[in-house]
C-alpha cells in the first residue's frame, strides 16, 4: 500500500461500488412524505407472463387512490422492483423494499416459493405483504394477508360439482398437476376428500409433470385410457402457468370433449386462455372466486377501470387481479380507519374489514388473515371467457389449515 490513499479510495469505490451507492438511494424526506406501496412482482423470467398484469393492477389502484385525493391526505407512491422470477432475488428485493425504500405495504408474489422466500424477511422486519393468488394453505403469517383462495375455497367445491348431476356424475378422477407444493398439497387434500366420498384409490389417477411441460401426448392418452374403464371420469388440473397451453391443445386435438371427460382447472383463468383457441375446449371448467364474465356493478366498474388504465380493450381481468384489487381497497380502508400506515395498527384494522368485491359478494378479512370468498365454477366459452354454471350462495370462510391433512391436528397453535 505504498501508493497511498488515492488508490485505496478507488479500491473502496470499486470493491463496494453498489454497497456505497445504495444508502444514497434512501429518501431524505420524512414529513408529509408519500405513502409507499411496494410492488414485488416478476417482470422478467418465467413468471412475468402472469405477474406483470398484477403489477399493472397495483399501479392502477395507486392511480385510483391518488385520483381520490390520496390516503390520509398523503400521496400514494408505488415502488416497483423486478425480482425476475428468481426466488432468492425475491428475498433480497423484499428487504430492499422494506429497509431501503421503507415501503408501508407490499403487494406481491405469485408462486408459493416466492412467498416462502420473502416470508422470513417480512416477519423479521415486521412488514406487510398482500398475497393475491390461490395457494395450498398450510400457512398463516401475521405479516401476510392472503387475498386468494385456500383449498377449501376452490378445490373441494369443484370436485363436489364434478360428482354432482350437473357436473356429469364423475366416478373416477384424474389428478394432473405440475410437480410443486400447491398441486401436491391440493391433491393430497382432494384424495382424502374423495376417499371420504367413497371414491377408492383405484379410481384416482395422480400424475405430475415439470414446470413448462410441453409434451402432453402420453399423459392425455393415459387419461383417455383411465376414462375408458366403464365409469364416468373427470380431470382435476392443477397444471401451472406455461404448461397449460400445450395441455389444452392436446386435450382439444385428442378429441376429449367436456361432455365425456370434463376437466376442471384451478390455475387457468382468462389470462391463460388468451393464448389458446378455445373452440375445442368449450365446456371444460375452471374453479375460481371471480370470473371476468361475472355480471355485477362492481365488476363492471373494475373492468372499466382496467381498460381505461391499460388502454387496450383486448386485455382481460382475472381472479388474482381481482384479489389484488380487493386487497388494495381493503388495505386503503384499514389505513383510513386506523389513521396511520403503522403495520401493527393496520393489521388490527384489517380484521373484519369488508369490501364489495367485483365477484359480486361482500368479502371479509378474518383473523386467520384469509378472506371469505365465494366459489364459482365456470365453463370455457368460445370467446375465451367463462360462463358461471355454479356458485356458492355465500362467501365461504377460508380453511387455510385443511381438516383433510391429518398432521394439522398436531400443529402448534
Amino acid at each position: 500500500m505504498t501508493l497511498g490513499t488515492p488508490f485505496s479510495r478507488r479500491a473502496l469505490m470499486a470493491g463496494a461500488a453498489g454497497a456505497l451507492a445504495l444508502p444514497a438511494l434512501r429518501p431524505a424526506f420524512a414529513q408529509a412524505a408519500p405513502i409507499k406501496v411496494g410492488v414485488l412482482h416478476s417482470l422478467s423470467g418465467t413468471m412475468a407472463i402472469s405477474e406483470t398484469a398484477l403489477r399493472d393492477t397495483v399501479l392502477m389502484m395507486v392511480d385510483w387512490i391518488n385520483g381520490k385525493g390520496g390516503l390520509l391526505g398523503r400521496k400514494v407512491e408505488a415502488v416497483v422492483v423486478d425480482p425476475a422470477s428468481n426466488w432468492p432475488l425475491f428475498a433480497e428485493k423484499a428487504r430492499e423494499l422494506l429497509q431501503v425504500h421503507k415501503v408501508d405495504v407490499t403487494f406481491g408474489c405469485w408462486t408459493s416459493v416466492s412467498r416462502k422466500s420473502v416470508l422470513p424477511v417480512f416477519e423479521e422486519l415486521n412488514g406487510l405483504l398482500f398475497y393475491p393468488v390461490q395457494y395450498e394453505g398450510e400457512e398463516q403469517s401475521r405479516n401476510v394477508f392472503y387475498t386468494g383462495a385456500a383449498p377449501n375455497q376452490q378445490a373441494i367445491p369443484a370436485v363436489d360439482y364434478l360428482m354432482s348431476a350437473d357436473g356429469g356424475e364423475a366416478k373416477r378422477i384424474a389428478l394432473l398437476g405440475t410437480d410443486y407444493v400447491y398441486p401436491r398439497t391440493t391433491n393430497r387434500i382432494l384424495r382424502a376428500y374423495l376417499n371420504s366420498k367413497g371414491v377408492s384409490d383405484a379410481d384416482i389417477m395422480e400424475e405430475y409433470t415439470p414446470f413448462g411441460h410441453s409434451d402432453w401426448q402420453g399423459i392425455v392418452s393415459r387419461v383417455k385410457r383411465f376414462a375408458g374403464e366403464g365409469k364416468r371420469a373427470a380431470i382435476v388440473s392443477t397444471i401451472n402457468g406455461d404448461a397449460n397451453v400445450p395441455f389444452y391443445r392436446e386435450l382439444g386435438n385428442q378429441g376429449i370433449k367436456a361432455e365425456d371427460i370434463p376437466c376442471v382447472a384451478f390455475s387457468v383463468g382468462e389470462e391463460e386462455l388468451a393464448g389458446i383457441d378455445t373452440k375445442p375446449l368449450v365446456g371444460h371448467l375452471a374453479a375460481w372466486n371471480y370470473f371476468m364474465s361475472v355480471d355485477t356493478p362492481a365488476n363492471a366498474e373494475f373492468k372499466k377501470m382496467w381498460r381505461a388504465y391499460i388502454k387496450n380493450d383486448k386485455r382481460v381481468t382475472n381472479d388474482p387481479m381481482e384479489a389484488t384489487y380487493t386487497g388494495f381497497r381493503m388495505w386503503a380502508q384499514a389505513v383510513a380507519q386506523s389513521g396511520t400506515t403503522a403495520v401493527d395498527k393496520v393489521r388490527e384494522a384489517m380484521y373484519g374489514q369488508k369490501v364489495e368485491a367485483p365477484c359480486g359478494y361482500t368479502e371479509q378479512m378474518w383473523q386467520n388473515h384469509h378472506l371469505s370468498k365465494p366459489v364459482m365454477i365456470g365453463e370455457i366459452q368460445e370467446d375465451g371467457q367463462f360462463n358461471v354454471v355454479w356458485k356458492t350462495p355465500d362467501a365461504i370462510k377460508a380453511e387455510n389449515w385443511s381438516p383433510y391433512i391429518p398432521e394439522n391436528a398436531n400443529r402448534k397453535k
Binding site: 422478467s44 429497509q99 416462502k116 407444493v181
Partner: protein, 366 residues
C-alpha cells in the same frame, strides 16, 4: 494476443500493487460494513441491514466466481454447470438447517421437516441421516460437489471432451439436476426447496448479529479462497494449468497426465463452489432447485468474463460489479435492466476480452 511489454519494467510491480491494493482495500471496506451497520441510523456512515445482507450474498458469489476462474481462467475448463455445485453445497447446508429446526416447525414434528409432514412422509429417508451434525455437513458440502465433479470430470476428461462440448455436457448436468430436484419425490422439498430456517450453530438466524457473523464467515472464506487460488496459480501447478489451457496435447507429450491435472482442479473448483453455496443459504434463507437453472451458471461465468478471466481479482471484481449493477437496476429500471445487463455482456466480450482488470492493467503482459 501477443501483448508486448511497452512500459518501463518498474511499472509492472506498481500496477500489480495497485490491483492488490484495490483488492485489499475492497475486502477491508467490506469488513467494515457490519460495523457501520451498528452506527445510529441517522449517521452519515450508517449502512442498512439490506446492504450487509446483499453484500454477504455477493461475497458468496465472489467465491463461486473464483472457483470458476480457477477452472476456466487457468485450466481452460469452461463449466456451465458450476451453479450445480454451488446449489449442492447449498442443499447440504439447507438439510442441516432443516434438521436444526427440530420441533419448532409448524407441525411440531421433531424429526421430519414440515414439507415432509404435510406431504405425508412417515420417516426420514436414509440420505438425510447425519445432517444434524455440523462437522458432517461441512464435510458433505465439500464432498458432494467434489464427488459429482469427480465423476463427471473423470468421464469427460478421460474421453478428451474439451471446450464447447464440455460446456454443453455440464450444462446438461445442471439441467438434469434441476429437473431432479424439482421432483417432490426426491425428498428435497421440490420446487419450494428449504426455507423457514431457525438457527445455525446455536445462533438464531434472521438477526443482525447472525447476518454479521455469517458475513464475516463468508468474507473469511473469500479471503481463504483467494489465498488458496493464488497459491495454486503461482505454483508450478498453476503454470501446468495455463499450459493445459493453451496447448493440452503438448502438455501430455511432456509427460503430464492432463486428465489427472484437470480433474484435480475441477474437483477443487467444485468444492469451492459448494462451500460458497453452503455459506449462501443461511445468508439468504432459502435454497431451491432454481439455483440449478442453467442460466444461473452462465451468469456466474459472465461475472468472471466481466471482471477478467485468469486473474482471480477479476473474478471477485466481476461478481461484485455485475451483481451491484443488477441489484441497482432491478429497482431503478425494472423494465430495462435486462437490456443494460445483456448489453454489458456483449460489450465486455467484444471490447474487453480481458475484462475490467484488463482495462486497469492495460498494456501489461500477463
Amino acid at each position: 494476443m501477443s501483448a508486448t511489454i511497452t512500459g518501463a519494467p518498474w511499472l509492472r510491480p506498481s500496477r500489480a500493487l495497485i490491483l492488490r491494493g484495490l483488492l485489499l482495500a475492497g475486502l477491508a471496506s467490506l469488513a467494515l460494513l457490519p460495523v457501520l451497520n451498528r452506527l445510529p441510523a441517522d449517521s452519515a456512515l450508517h449502512v442498512s441491514d439490506f446492504v450487509v445482507a446483499v453484500s454477504g450474498k455477493w461475497v458468496c458469489y465472489a467465491v463461486l466466481a473464483l472457483a470458476i476462474d480457477l477452472a476456466w481462467g487457468y485450466a481452460g475448463i469452461l463449466s456451465l454447470g458450476h451453479g450445480a455445485f454451488f446449489a449442492l453445497g447449498g442443499y447440504v447446508m439447507g438439510m442441516h438447517l432443516m434438521r436444526l429446526i427440530g420441533p419448532r416447525g409448524v407441525y411440531g414434528n421433531p424429526i421430519l421437516p414440515d414439507f415432509m409432514v404435510f406431504l405425508g412422509w412417515k420417516e426420514l429417508p436414509w440420505y438425510w441421516w447425519g445432517f444434524s451434525s455440523f462437522p458432517f455437513v461441512l464435510l458433505m458440502a465439500l464432498v458432494v460437489p467434489g464427488l459429482l465433479a469427480g465423476v463427471v470430470g473423470y468421464l469427460a476428461f478421460r474421453s478428451r471432451i474439451t471446450g464447447v462440448y464440455f460446456s454443453i455436457i455440464t450444462q446438461a448436468m445442471t439441467y438434469a439436476l434441476m429437473l431432479a430436484f424439482f421432483r417432490n419425490d426426491m425428498g428435497f422439498g421440490g420446487n419450494n426447496g428449504f426455507t423457514d430456517f431457525k438457527e445455525l450453530l446455536g445462533l438464531p438466524l434472521n438477526t443482525a448479529e447472525a447476518r454479521a457473523a455469517l458475513f464475516y464467515a463468508a468474507l473469511a472464506v473469500l479471503a481463504g479462497a483467494l489465498w488458496l487460488c493464488r497459491h495454486i496459480t503461482r505454483s508450478k501447478l498453476g503454470r501446468v494449468l495455463v499450459a493445459v489451457r493453451d496447448a493440452e496435447s503438448r502438455v501430455r507429450f511432456l509427460g503430464y497426465d492432463t486428465t489427472q491435472v484437470k480433474l484435480a482442479v475441477f474437483v477443487l473448483s467444485a468444492m469451492l463452489a459448494g462451500l460458497a453455496g453452503a455459506l449462501y443459504v443461511p445468508l439468504i434463507g432459502i435454497i431451491n432447485p432454481g439455483e440449478f437453472s442453467p442460466g444461473n451458471s452462465i451468469e456466474a461465468v459472465i461475472w468472471v468474463a466481466v471482471g477478467g478471466r485468469g486473474t482471480l481479482v477479476g473474478a471477485v471484481l466481476g461478481a461484485f460489479t455485475v451483481n451491484a449493477v443488477k441489484t441497482w437496476l432491478t429497482s431503478f429500471a425494472p423494465d430495462l435492466w435486462l437490456f443494460v445487463l445483456g448489453g454489458l455482456f456483449i460489450a465486455v466480450t467484444l471490447f474487453l476480452p480481458r475484462g475490467l482488470v484488463g482495462l486497469l492493467r492495460k498494456g501489461e503482459g500477463r
